[in-house]
Symmetry: none
Subunit: 194 residues, 4 copies
DNA sequence: CATGAATGAGGATTCATTCAT
DNA sequence: TATGAATGAATCCTCATTCAT
């Protein structure tokens, strides 16, 4: 039992170190030896938990993506109205991107880079299903514009990534007012104008 | 004269090779030797044109960014109405992202990655000034929401990057209808609702 | 008793795994971990039976060499005539090389490689004494050429190793006729021509 | 011109270092770094001349095999009588094995080990053709036993490898008398007894 | 200007061996 | 006795950069 926990802890430490170092230096500029050092294990130990470097980032990506969507849908349930549901999810996502900044940065880098296996990428996408279902309902109810989900995502969710990065770079601070404005922009870009 | 042209050609070939290879493999997974080979020069020759690898990507980034903004503002002039001006710029940018896909991909990777020097990044941003000026005017005229430029950019321009990448990945094809929808979403997310 | 047997079984399994893996990959390309896996024990367990990797192959060599000579001299007894005795031994050796192919291959590799300690090699040679004694008698009786034992071995016994290897490689199949021819060649190269 | 020569010299130095080190330690116990050091080049330089370690030994094997056969057939011509021809070739081979001991040892190790690619092995064999032709003629003329070439080789040529190795190990010194005895044994094992 | 050969430094990965249980 | 997790020390190989020509 204690042994299993220790194993899990080590794996987690490795994943965490990977995120931090890849965020700061990029995938290929992050040596396994540094990851090991930051996680307080020997380089060889990494290979007990991961097949190789690629597998390490793939798994890290999937882990973070899962955490992201778990966070996003935490208080959501399918009986909510479309508008309430979207607001809830949007704000949780915003919360994640701004509070779990390291994780969000990592995802952004993975998503704009040939760093992750296509397979792992596919796996990471699946988790968004509840949002897509909500949109489908919204379209049927005439509340959400009848557009491709890609467009809906691009205009309502993806801008948060951009904001998170500029905030991380220090050029810009996203406060409560901004956030409300942002939500309004998101919502107005996908809702049907009456 | 012919000699100078030859030099310029070589520099351009190097920049182009850099873009293509970095797009496909990432910065650190593109060896100088491959760049040289693709540009039909010796590895040593690169160092006649660029100080080192970092300098090569920095300059490439600035080059592409300049090309991007030149493209964006081509037919724009400051006497246009805010709405017309924005539509023009937006559509040029969309055009660039979809037609000059390689260039746009490269920028996306640079912007979401610790790949470029902060200094070069700053330099790349400057070129967007005309758009910021247009927005300033729009805010004064009560046409554009009085939000931070970062928010305006996040909601009206940045989504195009996401769409470009998903299109490149093949999951989704952006046709004329989509494009018009996208423009409407962009505009409706930054214009003042009457 | 059962415990002791289990120990012996494990040791044997390890020796057997060593032979097979070294045959296919060579000494240095066979990791201890693979040997352990093939023998169904933990890597650490190997070190209960052998001091280290070198000791493992040394002992394996000695084991196999002992088995080889035990096999060779099984039905031999010193009262036989020189010719009968030689024929018997030669055919038993041929049998071993062709039927106990794995074992014979292993010996061939050990004998042509800096893989085994000199000491273990010496130990392995001792067991051939009965053949040397037979040759000594044969020389005294004027039946065997008065040559160095090394030459006698080189021409009458060693060719079998070559044939075994070529057969293992599949280039050539050694059938009964061949075997008889081979024996005649062996005998004619060491017997005194009348 | 001088440049080309320098390249050739480097390649030769690498091949020579490979032979010596592999002879003493085996393939897998010979690090590239040691080979480089012995050849007075940087480890990276090896990769200008050879694709990887496997390629280095493969090419070394083919080189040495070619040298071996060139040596063997030097003064041979096809108009000689079968017996004279065989004696000539046999003695050249014996010479090679005893004088070019390093080379011969290397071949012996390659031939008894899963160290060389099958393809390279095949290539190495081709060069023996003149000897096989001679034997074919000998069989037609009723001088050589009508046996498989593998058997002829096993009994007339291969014993020299065994003698070379035992001599190298110091257990036994092959002088002129021995050599003549050895030749007689070789010849008597393949010639047709009258 | 241009080059290709050369290299030192560094990185991913493996493996014999140990140690806590 | 038996184990599996852990590791430090290699080892192969790559790559940005330099230098003689």
């Amino acid at each position: 039992m204690a042994k299993l926990q220790k194993s899990i802890d080590k794996r987690n430490a490795l994943v965490k170190a990977t995120i931090e170092l890849v965020n700061n230096n990029g995938f290929h500029a992050t040596p396994m030896s540094k990851i090991a050092k930051m996680a307080n294990v020997s380089p060889a130990t990494i290979y007990l938990y991961f097949e190789n470097k690629q597998d390490l980032v793939n798994q890290t990506y999937i882990d973070v993506k899962a955490e992201y969507t778990k966070y996003a849908f935490k208080d959501f349930d399918t009986t909510m109205s479309v508008e309430k549901g979207f607001e809830l999810i949007w704000k949780r996502i915003a919360d994640f991107k701004l509070k779990e900044c390291e994780n969000a940065m990592f995802l952004a880098q993975c998503d704009n880079t040939p760093m992750i296996d296509e397979l792992s990428r596919q796996q990471g996408i699946k988790h968004l299903q509840p949002l897509l279902d909500l949109w489908a309902r919204g379209k049927k109810e005439g509340i959400i514009k009848p557009m491709s989900d890609y467009l809906l995502y691009a205009y309502s969710i993806n801008p948060l990534s951009f904001l998170m990065i500029t905030q991380k770079r220090g050029s810009f601070q996203l406060d409560k007012t901004h956030l409300e404005e942002a939500y309004q922009s998101a919502w107005s870009s996908i809702k049907v104008c009456k």
